[in-house]
């Protein structure tokens, strides 16, 4: 089994689905010969032809709209935003057309919008956004946020097969940092959308998170273990559908919930998680549901400011200790 990076896993998932299903195609800026700004679509045009990995004009609304129309006409488009940040331009197409078509006439829109997501890479305010919380309020869109190479692979394949529009948030920080042995091709394993996973069992508190902060949460859990605190780490993986069951089950066992994401605090997906826990696990709670997230500011460019912006392991650790001691 080859060791693949998170980014290679994405490339492999695309290739495998394109191989299996000729309706699947990629479109986006520079996705063709160039293979995308990050290389996620590398060699796909060479392998599958120009109509299967299409270089598009710089027009994110148009790209999204074209993908929606092609999806409705029976294709399985995978649209790439060069950076997730630019999906702001496709926002209207996604929430107006993609999200509401099936509800109105039962005609599905099997579409994936890949968004290279997140900070920690010195990208500044316009190349670092976490875009998942731009969409979770809009009924009709699924949202995937894989944290590992296996999940990147397996969830992308599931997203492509899903008959619904899926905003697929790929964390750039993980692109080359996350690696794993990932079976591909006929041995490839699909990871269903809508299922959270307990990354590490624990009994004193639950750290609920997704994407890049799964790594930080795991490191923090190690350090807590040294202090005799047993932290469970729950990786949401999909935000929509939201696997409330796994989250509530964890919190009901530990009695304490720490909700963590790299995205900024206010209106982040963590608010929804905290609200659900607060309402449905109230009687199990031994401490306030606590959130750790980025500052409510744009994402500053220079490293010293970006570090201040981001929720760090120390921030998570401090909050976890406080919860444990509560």
């Amino acid at each position: 089994m080859p060791e693949l990076t998170y980014l290679e896993a994405i490339n492999a998932a695309l290739a495998d689905e394109m191989e299996l299903d000729e309706r699947v195609f990629c479109l986006g800026e520079d996705v063709g010969k160039q293979g995308g700004a990050f290389g996620a679509t590398k060699q796909l045009q060479q392998r599958f032809g120009v109509m299967r990995s299409i270089d598009m004009p710089v027009a994110e609304a148009g790209i999204a709209g074209v993908a929606i129309g092609a999806a409705m006409a029976g294709q399985r488009p995978v649209a790439e935003m060069q950076f997730g940040d630019f999906v702001s331009i496709a926002f209207d197409q996604l929430v107006t057309c993609a999200a509401k078509m099936h509800y109105r006439i039962g005609w599905a829109v099997p579409l994936v919008v890949r968004c290279p997501n997140g900070g920690g890479v010195g990208g500044g305010p316009y190349h670092s956004e976490n875009v998942e919380a731009w969409f979770h309020h809009h009924a009709g869109l699924k949202i995937a946020c894989p944290a590992t190479a296996e999940d990147a692979y397996g969830m992308l394949r599931s997203a492509i097969r899903d008959p619904n529009p899926v905003v697929f948030c790929e964390h750039k920080f993980l692109y080359r940092r996350e690696k794993a042995e990932v079976a591909t091709g006929t041995d490839g394993r699909l990871v269903p959308l809508g299922e959270a996973i307990v990354r590490r069992p624990g009994s004193d508190l639950s750290i609920i998170t997704y994407a890049a902060t799964v790594r930080s949460a795991s490191t923090v859990a190690d350090r807590l273990a040294e202090e005799g605190i047993s932290a469970e780490v729950v990786d949401l993986r999909s935000l929509i559908p939201f696997d409330a069951h796994t989250v509530l089950d964890s919190v009901r066992r530990t009695g304490k919930a720490l909700v963590v994401h790299e995205d900024n605090l206010t209106g982040g997906f963590g608010a929804e998680v905290a609200a659900v826990i607060g309402q449905r696990a109230f009687e199990y709670l031994d401490a306030p549901v606590t959130r750790v997230a980025a500052l409510d500011t744009p994402i500053p460019f220079t490293p010293v400011l970006e570090r201040e912006y981001m929720p760090t392991e120390d921030d998570i650790l401090a909050a976890a200790r406080e919860l444990a001691a509560y």
């Binding site: 709209g65 129309g69 409705m72 209207d92 057309c97 078509m101 509800y103 109105r104 008959p163």
Partner: protein
């Protein structure tokens, strides 16, 4: 991916296409039906029987009809994404009149089962996506459908129509530019009726001859009298055939006039010039078609009257059926946000 676009002339006009008497009578049937459905619906609206607001395409029937007749119908036919003035286009493309009334009434037999209103009508069986309110949003979708047909090597086309004001939107621009670059079989129909709500086209754009905008994308374009169904049909047939033959996207401007308010509740008298309305009233496309049928084609009045009677019956039946239709169950509001995993294309 190569194409040989037709020459874009300064005042482009389409070649004339032969129209048989039978086809001309089809024009008459569909246009008469369109107007009858709209007039009936307007009455129902005024009687408070239709929730929401109400829009008509009165005076623009030649476009609604002429643009769809060249298309192939059915789920494996051509994609049609019409503008709200084009009720007739739904009829021609296969939507039964009663379901349109059911849609206006918010009944279960509405193509959206009451989930959407007005001409936000659609369904896979007719290959009509359900339009959204946001003007020009359907243009990129139409390009996407055309791309799908091209990718699969099917000789299908995708057609969308929109008002003059929609040309101000970014999605118009992005959609047309992409269509041109990808050389897809998309047909764009601009219905230039001089107004966008209370805003005259001169405040919408400096380039009020909309076909000129197509030149910015390298898309061949023509401009036609939108109130003459023969001309409209000729232009549409030529464009649809060209697109189907692999000649890339096509653009048709239809010059017409909005024969009243933006919507039924709009007090248009405060801003629309009454003389112009009166002038255009003389150019009514149905009147003109009747004259052509009678004077040029020697159709006897009885044949036209037969059509009118048939239409009257059909509309009566359609309203009755919609009237007797029930409302959706409240529980249906919860259903259908997501397509099920076993959804079949």
């Amino acid at each position: 991916m190569s194409s040989s676009p037709r020459q874009i002339s300064a005042v482009p006009s389409p070649p004339a296409v032969e129209v048989s008497d039978a086809l001309a009578m089809e024009f008459f049937y569909w246009m008469t039906l369109t107007r009858a459905v709209e007039e009936r619906a307007l009455n129902l609206y005024r009687q408070g029987k239709l929730p929401g607001s109400y829009y008509t395409g009165r005076g623009q029937e030649a476009i609604a009809i002429g643009m769809v007749l060249p298309l192939r119908r059915g789920s494996d036919g051509d994609w049609l994404s019409p503008w709200i003035r084009d009720l007739g286009s739904y009829l021609v493309h296969g939507v039964p009149p009663w379901r349109i009334f059911a849609q206006f009434m918010g009944k279960a037999g509405s193509t959206t089962r009451g989930k959407d209103g007005n001409l936000h009508i659609g369904g896979r069986e007719w290959n009509i996506p359900c339009q959204v309110s946001h003007m020009a949003d359907m243009i990129p979708l139409t390009v996407g459908a055309a791309l799908a047909y091209k990718q699969r090597g099917e000789d299908r086309v995708a057609l969308t129509s929109f008002g003059d004001a929609a040309t101000s939107r970014g999605d118009f621009h992005e959609g047309l530019n992409i269509a041109a670059v990808l050389e897809v079989p998309a047909v764009f129909v601009a219905e230039n009726n001089g107004w966008g709500y209370s805003t005259p086209i001169s405040r919408q754009t400096k380039v009020t001859d909309l076909h000129k905008k197509a030149a910015a994308y390298g898309i061949p374009a023509v401009s036609v009298d939108g109130n003459d169904v023969f001309t409209v049909y000729s232009a549409m047939k030529t464009a649809v055939d060209a697109a189907r033959a692999g000649q890339g996207p096509q653009f048709i401007e239809c010059k017409t006039y909005r024969m009243g308010g933006h919507a039924a509740h709009d007090k248009y008298e405060s801003y629309m010039p009454m003389e112009t309305l009166a002038e255009w009233s003389d150019k009514d496309p149905i009147k003109r078609l009747e004259t052509a049928l009678r004077d040029t084609r020697g159709m006897v009045p009885e044949r036209l009257e037969d059509v009118r009677v048939r239409v009257r019956d059909e509309v009566r039946e359609a309203v009755e059926r919609a009237d007797h239709d029930g409302y959706p169950e409240p529980a249906e509001a919860h259903e259908g946000v997501f397509a099920p995993a076993d959804y079949e294309d």
